[in-house]
Amino acid sequence: MSKFTLTLAALACSVTAFAAVAQDAPGTKTADSYRFVIVPKVVHPWFDKVNDGAQMAAVAIKAQTGSDVEIVYSAPQSADVVQQNQILESSIATRPDGIAVDLLDPAGNRASLEDAKSQGIPLTLFDSVPPEGMAIPYIGSDFCEQAKIASRRLVELLDGKGKVAIMMGVPTAPNHSIRAECHREVFAEYPGIEVVAEGIDNDDIQVAQQQAAAIMQANPELDGWVASDAAGPVGIGQAIVEAGKQGEVILVGLDNLNEMIDLIRDGVADSSSASRPELQGYWSVMLLWQQATGAPVPSFIDTGNAFLTKDNLGL
C-alpha cells in the first residue's frame, strides 16, 4: 500500500471518528420545532413581562437556527398551588419540549415536578428555587436583597429616623414573605425607625390602596412606605395621591410595572427596587432549549435587581 493510500485511509478514519464525536456531542441535537410551556404563579402583569421575555427568546432561536419555537403561556387564575399543579400536570400530558415554572411552593409542587422529570420533560424554574434535593436549573434574583435595597433607601431618605409601614403582599407567597421579613430586618438595625403598621394587599392594587389609605388615616405621622409585591406600591401610591400626602410620605417601590414607573415619573414614589422579569422569561426559554438540544446547563442564573430612579429611567 502506498504512503498516499495510507494517509488517505487515516484521514478518512479521523474524519469519520470526528463526525461520530460531533454527532454525539452535547448540545447538537436539533429539531424543526419546539414547544415550551411557561407556568407562572398567577395571571399578573409582572408575569406578562416574563412572557414577553420568553417570546423574545423564541424569536431569537428562530432567527439563529431556523427552528420554530412555540411558547404556551398557561397561568393559574389565582395564586393557588393546587390550581398550579393542575395546570402543570395537564401541561405534562401534552408532552412539551420543556416547562418553565415559577413555583408557588417548592415542597407543594414537588410531586408534579417529579412527574415531569419521570417523563423526561426538561424543566427550568424562574423566580423561585427548586425543592430540596431536586436538581432543576433555576433563574432568579435575590428577593431579600431586592427588599433590602428598598428599605435601606427609605432609611437613607429619612436620615435614619421616622415611622414607616410595610405592605406584605400575599402572606402565603414565599417571595413576598421573604421580602417582608427582610424589610423588618433592615428597619430593626436602626433604633430611630419604628414600624408602625403592616398591611396585607394580596397582590391586588385596589386592596393595597384601601389598606394604605386606612393605615395612613390611623397613623397620620407616617413618614414612609415599602412594599413586598408588585401591586402593593401602586396601590400605596394611589392612596398617597388621594390623601394629598405627596412629598410628605415617602414611597420606595418594588418591581417595574408600568404604573410603578408612572409613580416615579410623577414624583409620588422616590424609586423602585426591581427584579427583571423579561430577563427571567428570556433565559427560561434559553435554558429549556439548551436542555432540549442535550447541552449541559448551569444550575443557576442570577438576573439581578435593578434600582430604578427618575434619573436612570430617563424620565
Binding site: 398557561s74 389565582s78 398551588v81 393546587v82 399543579n85 393542575q86 395546570i87 415542597a107 414537588r110 402565603t172
Partner: protein, 332 residues
C-alpha cells in the same frame, strides 16, 4: 333479527322504562358530561392518555368531596361558604399535629376529621339555634376559620409531612389515584344515604318544605345539624388528602373550594332552594368543570381567555340540560 330490531322490540315491550330513564333529571347532565368527554377525546390526542386521566381524576377528587357535602346541604336548602376554609384549617391542623407535635400521622388525620365535624357542628348549631340563614352565618365563620389559618401559620406552609400518609394523596390502586378511590367510596355512601335511607328522604322533605316536614314529625334541626357535621368532615377529608398529595400543609388549601362546589352542584341539577337534585348529579357537574379546566390547558388557551371559554362551555352545558328537561316535561 338484527340488534336494532331486537332493541326496538324490547322498547315496544317496555316503553315506560326508557321514558322513565330519559325523564330522570340526572340524564341531562350525564349527557352533557359524556358529550364533553367524547369531544375532548376526539379533539385532543393527549386527553385520553392514562397520565392525563389520572390528573383529571385526582384533581376532581378533592373538589368532589367538598361538593358532596355542599350538595347535601343544598338539598336541605342550606349553603355553607366556610367548607373551603374548614378543609384548609383541618389540613393545617393535621400538618401541625404531625410535624410540630410529632403525633402519629394516622391519629392526626383522625383528629383533623373530628375537627372538621366539630366546625361543621358549630355552623349547623348556630344556624338552627339562632334561626340564622346559613349563607350569612357561614360568611362569618369562613372569615374566622380562614383567619385561624393565618394566625396558626403566619402564611408559611408546614413542610415535612411524614411519607407514610403521602400514599393517601399520591398513591394509586390498580392505577387509579387514591384520592379518587376514596372520593368514590364517599360518593357511594352519600348516594346510598340520600336515596335509600329514611334519613335521605327526610333531607328531601326538609328541603322541599321545612315546616311541613316538622309537622310530619321529622326532627328537622337535628338532621340539618347532622348534615352540616357530615359536610364539615368531608371538607376536612379533602383537606387532609390534599396535604398528603402536596406533602405540605398549605395555608391556601381550600381557597378554590368555595364557589366551585356550589357551581358544580347547580350544574348537576341541585337547586339552591332545596329538595331538588342528586349528589350524583352534583359530582357530574364537578366532573364537567374538571374536564373543562383540563382541556383548556391541553388546548393551550390563553389565560386571559380561559374564564370566557370555561364560562361559555358551562352556560352551553346548563342550557342544553335545561332545554332537554323542558322537552322531556313536554313529552311526558
Amino acid at each position: 333479527m338484527s340488534d336494532l330490531q331486537k332493541a326496538d322490540a324490547a322498547q315496544s315491550k317496555n316503553p315506560g322504562m326508557l321514558k322513565a330513564v330519559l325523564r330522570n333529571p340526572l340524564m341531562g347532565v350525564l349527557a352533557v358530561l359524556i358529550v364533553i368527554f367524547v369531544a375532548s377525546s376526539i379533539l385532543s390526542p393527549y386527553f385520553l392518555t392514562p397520565y392525563n386521566m389520572s390528573v383529571v381524576g385526582r384533581g376532581l377528587a378533592f373538589v368532589a368531596l367538598v361538593t358532596i357535602g355542599q350538595a347535601s346541604l343544598m338539598l336541605l336548602g342550606e349553603l355553607d361558604l366556610s367548607l373551603g376554609t374548614i378543609g384548609g384549617l383541618c389540613g393545617i391542623v393535621t400538618g401541625m399535629l404531625m410535624v410540630n407535635a410529632g403525633m402519629n400521622p394516622w391519629l392526626s388525620c383522625l383528629l383533623a376529621l373530628c375537627l372538621g365535624a366539630a366546625l361543621g357542628f358549630i355552623n349547623g348549631f348556630l344556624t338552627t339555634a339562632l334561626r340564622l340563614h346559613s349563607l350569612v352565618l357561614t360568611i362569618g365563620t369562613a372569615g374566622i376559620y380562614g383567619g385561624a389559618i393565618l394566625v396558626l401559620t403566619r402564611g408559611v406552609a408546614i413542610t415535612g409531612i411524614p411519607p407514610e400518609i403521602q400514599f393517601l394523596g399520591r398513591g394509586t390502586v390498580w392505577g387509579i389515584p387514591m384520592p379518587f378511590v376514596i372520593m368514590l367510596v364517599m360518593l357511594l355512601c352519600a348516594v346510598f344515604l340520600t336515596l335509600k335511607t329514611p334519613f335521605g328522604r327526610y333531607m328531601y322533605a326538609i328541603g322541599n318544605n321545612r315546616d311541613a316536614a316538622r309537622m310530619l314529625g321529622i326532627r328537622v334541626d337535628r338532621i340539618r345539624v347532622l348534615v352540616f357535621v357530615l359536610a364539615g368532615a368531608l371538607s376536612a377529608l379533602a383537606g387532609v388528602l390534599l396535604v398528603a398529595r402536596l406533602g405540605t400543609a398549605q395555608p391556601s388549601i381550600g381557597n378554590s373550594w368555595v364557589l366551585g362546589p356550589i357551581a358544580a352542584a347547580v350544574i348537576g341539577g341541585v337547586a339552591t332552594t332545596g329538595g331538588v337534585g342528586t349528589i350524583l348529579g352534583a359530582i357530574c357537574g364537578a366532573a364537567i368543570i374538571g374536564i373543562i379546566e383540563n382541556i383548556i390547558v391541553l388546548f393551550g388557551v390563553s389565560p386571559y381567555w380561559q374564564g370566557i371559554v370555561s364560562g361559555a362551555i358551562v352556560v352551553i352545558a346548563i342550557s342544553f340540560d335545561a332545554i332537554s328537561r323542558r322537552w322531556l316535561r313536554k313529552e311526558s
